[in-house]
Amino acid sequence: MKVEGEHLFKAPREVVYEMFNDPDALGAAVPGMQKMVKIDESHYEAVLGIRVGPVSANFSGNLTLTDEVPPESVTLIIEGKGGAGFVKGVGYVKFEDLGDQTTLLKYTGEANIGGTLASVGQRMIDSVAKSMFKTVFEKLDKILEERWQKN
């Protein structure tokens, strides 16, 4: 599955970039994130309980940040496994400074989904993925708003 999109953050690029390196922020933004632990500078371990309608699936996995070019771009590698299957995704994230203390995040990526989720859950995957991205960005907006305002 290919993913692609963009989101406009109302904060300077450095702040947005920093947020993407903060496990607490990322953990709080992903719906169903039960645990997110920083292993080292660029590796996190996570436990995720996704609950979408009838589907409830637990995933454990890790998140790796690579090719970091602060504050311009970063590559996220996500690997998760659970009873319902596995997800392996690579996301290329770019932060564009639009001035005026706004940052345009652009992402492209590819997710490899396997197991039961892929074999019988096709109908749900796309809409659920889209909706999860939406939720993540909404939550990040909120986090940003709080932090940015505090500063």
């Binding site: 309608g53 009838p54 589907v55 859950g121 096709q122 109908r123 796309d126 889209k130 909706s131």
Partner: protein, 293 residues
């Protein structure tokens, strides 16, 4: 394909059900008709730790006229019973029309009206109709209840505002004014299958055959049922001419929907048929309104 084990509760009253849901909190899940849930459980895609079965709560199953001439439908009323209710036939032919597209007869026998809506499947007919008709949803939890507008109930694919400790108890359908026509059309690959696109509409005409109200919902072309604004904007106050309806279709397709490509249809195809279905649905709804609904 056997489900995982779970704690099972079979309350016999609404209060008992709410107590149980309150106790279970996040772990609890309501079992209504189970026609989507149990299938997902058999695949082990769904692994709820506790089920609160409402099938032994007879007080949740009814179709009752309301004082204003509408209907109140209990959440556990089987789709089959809604489909065959004389009260529904009299007031809301749209529900009858849409019912025959909902899966297959055996599923409608067991599946429930409220369960289907709370399931909020983007390709589900009843969630879309609940948005279109703005059914008033009564959501109960232990010691509390709240009403939510049908158009605010669904917040994402398979997601509603109903919290795990809550349950959808009733849906209230407001009566339609005179000279209201409705219609549901869909394109699916097979009978009873998921629609690649579907459109339902309700049009009310005034005595001069101008639109007093026009509502339309677009299904399977976004993450949630899409309540079109264009139908109202363009049609209300005007004669629902072919040109006006085509304009609604054009704008709805270009500005309101966000179809995806999947195994069964490309996004482009979905756009194309949605345009066709909007025209067909609105045209037919207008015709029916002219005939008195």
């Amino acid at each position: 394909m056997k489900p995982v084990n779970f704690d099972y509760y079979a309350p016999s009253s609404v209060d008992e059900a709410l107590d149980t849901l309150a106790e279970l909190g996040y772990d609890g899940k309501v079992l209504a008709g189970g026609q989507s849930l149990i299938a997902a459980m058999n695949f082990r895609m769904a692994r709820p730790s506790a089920l609160v079965d409402l099938n032994n709560v007879p007080e949740l199953s009814y179709v009752k006229p309301t004082e204003d001439g509408g209907l109140a439908i209990g959440t556990m009323t089987r789709v089959f019973d809604v489909e065959h209710s004389a009260e529904v036939i009299k007031r809301f032919p749209l529900l009858i029309e849409v019912s025959k597209y909902i899966a297959h007869p055996q599923i409608r026998r067991r599946g429930t009206f409220g369960g289907a809506i709370a399931h909020a499947d983007p390709a589900g007919q009843l969630p879309s109709i609940s948005v279109l008709m703005n059914m008033q949803a009564l959501i109960k939890s232990k010691g509390e209840e709240r009403w939510v507008d049908g158009q605010d109930l669904i917040i994402g694919p398979f997601m509603t505002v109903i919290e795990p400790h809550e349950m959808l108890a009733e849906l209230v359908l407001k009566p339609w004014p005179a000279r209201t026509g409705s219609n549901y059309v869909q394109v699916s690959r097979q009978s009873g299958g998921y629609a690649q696109s579907a459109v339902a509409s309700i049009v009310t005409l005034d005595e001069n055959e101008r639109c007093k109200d026009a509502r339309m919902v677009l299904m399977s072309v976004g993450e949630v049922p899409i309540l079109s604004q264009k139908a109202g904007e363009i049609l209300v106050g005007n004669a629902p001419t072919r040109e006006a309806i085509e304009e609604v279709a054009e704008l709805a397709v270009t500005t309101e929907i966000d179809p995806a490509t999947d195994l069964h249809a490309t996004a482009d195809y979905r756009r194309s048929i949605t345009r066709v279905l909007v025209v067909r649905s609105l045209t037919e709804a207008v015709e029916r309104a002219k005939r008195g609904g």
